[in-house]
């Protein structure tokens, strides 16, 4: 029997989603995603980290339907708090407030929310359409990537991430390298020896990814949030009082700006490791630069909201391309989704497209449905949603800490995993305090085993000849990209100094 085509798989996915029980699950996932997205400090990474263990026992199709839906919900949720309380739910919504909040202060909150909802949903749809268009050829493209190319792509993914997250480069490098070192703990599949188990037998499995990321993100954030105290935000929310429909129409009026931003977001999403913050800001700045009246941006211009939200949601479709096609996560959220694949015994990469097309289709359809649902719910309930930010932190923290440890245990019913979450929770808190980004660490943990195994596989193929790493044009291209991304920030300093001295 012939393997199903993508179209057939999409129909099957729609069938799955049309089941009333599954629709309820999607609705709950979207609302949960929006809740986590609206609350500054939580966001998509924490939401996905908490849900992976809780969906582990479900059928993989249902589990990924829920995870994709939560991801769809968090993106737009973050823009609501950016617009109404001047605090982005997450860094990927940071550029939205530059114009969203001034609009809200002018009494145009409804228009900003309407534009954000439409741009988000349409942006996500655009990114997913690009993904769908590429799926038929993705298997062939991925075959161009042999072990040496995958090795360089993995190294490039970490190096790019190191230079795009906040702060300066050195802490980012330290974080990424520590992630790689953590990935090497436990049994080495190549030699069957155990590396760094600290004398504990449970460490033969190494630092498991999901307990580690629950600790690094959820637990560490809770310790930090608790110390701030009070409500999630002390700022009074601006009320939405009509105008949403005008915001919807604005997106169609500025359709070319939206399209440019979505294309930019999708392209940035495909670069391994680069997240929504970069997509968000680059789209905003291109909108400012191309505009005839750039002085209007930052004062309440709807184009700022459309550009940033369109690109932010479009990047998810782009980020799924390297994640599903090559097994290299396209963003931090995708790194967590990658962990879910491994947990379900599914290896993302070329053969995913061939062997689990139904799963790919479910993710695609869930992203589309959840983004549309999120925007509709957001348009109707923005005033109520933003009230979430008035919740007392001291009530939220015990529940999230509890669910974090509960979820950690639920993955393998292994009480020792609780200690991995604890170690990474404390480590994450220390990293927060010294301003080291935790995202490169997680990407290092995901990419570490891939980089190491592909390195030795390359050498096995070449009989120990290192020239295999430099023998294909694609490998050379990836090396050039790697060197450029590491040298670029220093070149910028040199150019800046030369300008100053002139």
């Amino acid at each position: 029997m012939a393997a199903p085509t993508l179209l057939e798989s999409v129909f099957v996915a729609f069938g799955l989603l049309s089941d009333p029980y599954n629709l309820v699950l999607i609705f709950v996932a979207v609302v949960f995603g929006m809740f986590m997205g609206v609350v500054p400090g939580l966001g998509g990474i924490v939401a996905l980290s908490l849900l992976i263990p809780l969906t582990f026992g479900l059928d993989p199709l249902i589990a990924f339907m829920i995870l994709a839906s939560v991801n769809g919900g968090t993106n737009f949720g973050g823009s609501i708090s950016a617009i109404l309380i001047n605090t982005p739910g997450g860094a990927p919504n940071a550029a939205t407030l530059l114009d969203g909040y001034p609009m809200a202060r002018e009494g145009r909150a409804g228009e900003a929310i309407g534009a954000s909802a439409t741009a988000s949903a349409a942006g996500a749809l655009f990114g997913v359409l690009v993904l769908v268009a590429l799926v038929p050829i993705m298997f062939e493209i991925s075959l161009l990537f042999g072990p040496p190319e995958i090795f360089w792509l993995g190294i490039w993914g970490i190096s790019v991430l190191v230079i795009v997250v906040r702060g300066n480069i050195l802490p980012g490098l330290i974080s990424g390298a520590f992630g790689l070192i953590f990935a090497m703990h436990g049994l080495n599949g190549l030699s069957s020896n155990v590396r760094w188990n600290y004398g504990f037998s449970f460490m033969y499995d190494g630092f498991k990814l999901v307990p580690a990321l629950i600790g690094l993100f959820a637990v560490a954030e809770m310790i930090n949030l608790m110390s701030e105290g009070g409500k999630i935000t002390e700022e009074d929310a601006v009320q939405v009082s009509g105008g949403q429909w005008k915001g919807v129409k604005d997106v169609f009026e500025y359709r070319w700006l939206f399209l440019r931003s979505s294309i930019l977001g999708t392209i940035i999403g495909t670069i391994p490791g680069v997240g929504g913050t970069v997509a968000n800001y680059l789209a905003y700045f291109q909108a400012v630069q191309i505009s005839d009246d750039p002085e209007k941006f930052g004062t309440g211009d709807v184009r700022g909201v459309i550009a940033s939200e369109g690109s932010n949601d479009a990047k998810d479709g782009g980020a799924l391309i390297p994640t599903l096609g090559l097994g290299i996560p396209g963003s931090a959220a995708m790194a967590i989704l990658f962990g879910a694949f491994i947990l379900h015994g599914i290896q993302p990469g070329p053969f995913l497209m061939r062997d689990h097309l139904d799963l790919v289709a479910v993710i695609i359809v869930s992203l589309v449905v959840s983004n549309i649902l999120t925007s509709i719910i957001g348009l109707i309930t923005a005033n109520q949603l933003v009230k979430i930010t008035q919740i007392d932190i001291e009530l939220l923290v015990p529940i999230i800490i509890g669910v974090s440890f509960f979820g950690t245990y639920a993955i393998n019913n292994n009480p020792f995993d609780l200690f991995i979450t604890l170690i990474f929770g404390l480590l994450g808190f220390l990293l927060l305090k010294v301003e080291i980004s935790r995202v490169p660490m997680i990407l290092g943990m995901v990419l570490g085993p891939i980089i190491e195994s592909e390195f030795f596989r390359s050498l096995q193929i070449s009989g120990g000849n290192y020239s295999i790493f430099f023998s294909s044009p694609l490998a050379i291209l990836l090396i050039i990209l790697l060197v450029s991304s590491l040298v670029y920030p220093y070149l910028r300093i040199l150019v800046h100094k030369a300008k100053v001295s002139q």
Binding site: P88, L190, N193, S227, G402, Y409
Partner: protein, 189 residues
């Protein structure tokens, strides 16, 4: 309330610059000791498959940490060397969005924040040990005492405990069919 004084501080500047430098130094020293111990173990491994990548990543990592420590101890070095100077592409962008417009401020003063952080770390460390030795049935009691400790309100603590218990024991355990850990002490009985 005394501890509800509004202070204009962002999340990261609750320590003075001198305290912050000492704190940063301690954290980087801790990371350096950790990676040094790990690297020391690597030299005891015989297989090249085991040693190559840990050294390939670990030695540069140790160098990065030493460099960072040097920049903290001798801040003047950053003017001469570029290593710690390069801004990440997204860094300045994200800073712009999150620090110039963010309204999130701590309602606590410095001493109070440090005190709460220490309490939180202790509470977090205690939890996995409690669960390991006494099992998951202790969880609602932990949530109750935790909430009461910080809120000093029994009614709120009961509500939070109920929400948590319904979410986890009522919903997740039933839905996922999780077999709850009884705890080392109760298993031995």
């Amino acid at each position: 309330m005394k501890d509800k004084i509004e202070v204009n501080e962002t999340n990261r500047d609750w320590l003075t610059s001198v305290q912050k430098n000492w704190f940063n130094l301690l954290v980087y020293l801790f990371l350096f000791v950790w990676i040094s111990v790990l690297l020391y173990h690597v030299y005891g491994w015989s297989s090249w498959y085991d040693r190559f990548f840990p050294l390939f990543i670990g030695l540069p990592l140790a160098f990065f940490i030493v460099s960072k420590i040097a920049f903290i101890v001798y801040p003047g070095l950053t003017g001469k060397l570029y290593l710690d100077q390069a801004e990440q592409i997204g860094g300045s962008l994200e800073e712009k969005g999150l620090t110039t417009n963010s309204s999130k401020k701590s309602i606590r003063d410095k001493t109070e924040r440090r005190r709460i952080e220490v309490y939180m770390v202790i509470w977090t460390v205690v939890l996995p040990f409690l669960l390991y030795y006494l099992g998951f049935l202790i969880f609602p009691a932990y949530i109750f005492v935790f909430t009461w400790f910080f809120k000093k309100d029994v009614k709120t603590a009961v509500v939070v405990t109920l929400i948590f218990s319904i979410m986890t024991f009522g919903l997740l355990v039933q839905l996922l069919g999780i077999r709850l850990w009884k705890g080392v002490l109760f298993s031995a009985l």
